[in-house]
């Protein structure tokens, strides 16, 4: 039994559970007709994140006991690319709407459709052939190692919009008048930054590898998820201290009482 893979799997499932819960709650939020699309895009981001995280977690749990088959891992990689493209499409559409009042649907749809097809082509052309389990995380090795400028462009396209978007999202803190909005924006933006940071920088490797490093890395991932959970469901002492609310009953009730 591979303990590291087990920890990675469990941590992923904890995070995925939180993201799934939030995605579900956000998808059920009642919003005005104009905001339906961005609200659905934001919910899609969290649901997509839940799916990507649980997919990685499932592979890690399988790897706890046995090496997953090549076909399974390659299928998972392709599914992850699809999920990633969909969730990033949702996040960027949501963020641009929040800032500009427009979702730029055509632009982001074209961007992430292209991104998906290019990445799928690159993965397929690189011929994934050997499944690896590194510190509990399941991956693949490629027969034709892909590199060069295109790889850097793809990585930049993967990371840059989200980082820039999350930082722009954080700057809303300085504009928001409502303490609850400020509180949520702070936690959610830093959680997104943390999630992408973990996904791209591999902190376990930076910490020198090993079980403890993996544990720290996965704890950061779970921390990001808990941060988002606190943003929407703040504990009582946070509510007392900062005067913030969870699902704001005053606002919700007043909306219901407002004449149509």
């Amino acid at each position: 039994m591979d303990n590291t893979a087990f920890v990675a799997g469990v941590a992923s499932f904890i995070g995925a559970g939180v993201y799934l819960f939030l995605g579900y709650k956000l998808a059920r939020r009642r919003v005005s007709p104009a905001s339906r699309l961005p609200a659905a895009q934001f919910a899609l981001f969290w649901l997509g994140l839940a799916a990507v995280t649980s997919l990685g977690g499932a592979l890690s749990l399988i790897a706890t006991f046995t090496l997953p088959s090549d076909a399974l891992v390659v299928t998972a990689v392709h599914t992850e690319i699809l999920l990633l493209s969909a969730m990033l499409w949702g996040l960027l559409g949501y963020l641009t709407y929040l800032y500009t009042g427009r979702s730029y649907l055509l632009f982001w749809s074209s961007f992430y459709a292209t991104f998906y097809f290019v990445l799928t082509y690159v993965i397929t052309a690189s011929e994934p052939n050997v499944v690896t389990v590194t510190q509990g995380t399941v991956g693949v090795q490629y027969a034709t190692a892909f590199g060069g400028p295109l790889l850097y462009v793809l990585i930049a396209l993967l990371i840059a919009p989200e980082f820039i978007g999350a930082i722009l999202y954080f700057t809303l803190v300085f504009r928001a008048r409502d303490p609850t909005v400020r509180f949520r924006v702070t936690l959610v933006s830093w959680s997104i930054i943390l999630w992408f940071g973990i996904a791209t920088l591999n902190p376990a490797a930076l910490l020198g590898g090993g079980f403890v490093a993996e544990l720290v890395s996965h704890s950061l991932g779970v921390g990001a998820a808990i941060g988002v959970l606190i943003a929407y469901y703040p504990p009582r002492w946070v509510r007392d201290r900062l005067g913030v609310t969870g699902i704001d009953p005053v606002r919700a009730a007043s909306r219901a009482a407002t004449p149509r």
Partner: protein, 378 residues
């Protein structure tokens, strides 16, 4: 009314006391003076033009506004008309003068009063807007802490305390609803967009789409005729019809609501009507229903704050139109809306709030929009 008789050389031969008084001369002082010397240098071209017109065969000289040159005093605004008549040994002229001082003072006073009213209106809008915005945050604090107290201490205090808490929470909810509505009301002017051609049928279709769920819940039947188009702000016109239809859906009687929307051109205007088979409005309340936060029924019977028709009226007025309520056919109420087909009403361009500073207003509008989006989506 001053009167002067001039000889063929346009010199005064006779003047009545009113003319002498108007021009600041004593009795007989005007005698022999050319008319051109009785006005300021700037007014002489107008006087020459008046004589030229009077001398043209068959023409009537139009009224001219000149400034009388009063010795030792300020120029006096005067309206004059010159008429030519035959005289022994040549032609003579008759001139009628009218003192414009009182009229111009009245116009100036009215202009100043208008400006004061505009300023007052603008200040009131500013106040409404700022008050409703600035009250939101403390109220939210009151609401959320009352909720916390309720969560923590409900059932632990005596029953009366629980009841007081419920009242406090309900009060906060109502206050929030009223403030939200006040913001909506103030935005009719501050958020209004310039007018353009719009499709009235498309606006009504949008309004009905927004109300789709309520229409289904209430089993409402809508009958929308072809509607003539006007110029206006499509968002606000949609809001107008949405409020009227929502009202008709809400205040229905035992039968399912039946709503008829019609429109017909009437000269330069279009008359629209939204009729229903609801509970109706007694004649004595037909003005009152358009006043903000005025309600004819208990909240328990019909929920709401009483903003819908006030907003509808404000939208119609911004479009230079009128709205009124009348008996329905055969029951219920019919709201009539008369809108100009196409013109630039006084408030169509930037609203009074924007008049303070377009940059400030644009920034505030952008900030409001982002605050709204954050409240809803974050």
């Amino acid at each position: 009314m001053g009167q002067l008789i001039l000889d063929s050389g346009a010199r005064v031969t006779r003047a009545n006391p009113a003319a002498e008084h108007m021009l600041g001369r004593r009795s007989g002082e005007l005698q022999g003076l050319p008319l051109a010397d009785l006005v300021t240098a700037e007014s002489r071209p107008q006087v020459e033009r008046a004589f030229a017109e009077a001398n043209a065969p068959g023409s009537v000289a139009p009224l001219a506004r000149v400034e009388g040159d009063v010795p030792g005093g300020a120029p006096v605004p005067i309206e004059l008309v010159v008429g030519r008549f035959p005289e022994r040994g040549g032609a003579g002229y008759g001139v009628i003068l009218r003192d414009l001082q009182a009229q111009e003072a009245l116009v100036a006073a009215l202009t100043e009063r208008g400006a004061q009213l505009a300023r007052s209106n603008r200040d009131l809008q500013e106040f409404t807007y700022v008050a409703s915005h600035d009250l939101q945050e403390p109220l939210r604090m009151v609401g959320s802490y009352t909720q916390l107290v309720g969560e923590r201490y409900r059932g632990k205090l005596d029953p009366q305390a629980d009841e007081f808490l419920t009242f406090a929470q309900q009060g906060a909810v109502r206050m929030q609803a009223l403030l939200d509505d006040l913001v909506i009301y103030s935005r009719v002017d501050t958020r209004g967009r310039p007018f353009g051609p719009l499709s009235m049928n498309a606006c009504v279709a949008d309004a009905l789409r927004n109300l789709r769920l309520v229409i289904e819940e209430e089993h409402g039947h809508l009958d929308v005729g072809p509607l003539p188009d006007v110029e206006g702000d499509p968002t606000q016109i949609t809001q107008l019809f949405q409020n009227l239809v929502a009202n008709a859906l809400k205040f229905h009687g035992a039968e399912a609501p039946r709503i008829v929307i019609r429109g017909e051109p009437r000269g330069g205007e279009v008359l629209y009507s939204v009729g229903d088979n609801g509970i109706g409005i007694p004649p004595e309340y037909r003005e009152k229903v358009f006043v903000i936060f005025q309600r004819l029924h208990r909240r328990e019977d019909y929920p709401g704050t009483g903003i819908g028709l006030a907003v509808a009226k404000k939208v119609v007025e911004r479009h230079g139109g009128t709205i009124w309520a009348a008996d329905g056919q055969p029951t219920g109420t019919t709201f009539f809306i008369q809108l100009p087909k196409a013109h630039a009403p006084p408030w169509s361009a930037p609203g009074p709030a924007e008049a303070i500073s377009p940059l400030h207003a644009a920034r505030r509008r952008a900030d409001d929009l982002i605050q709204d989006r954050m409240k809803e989506l974050v």
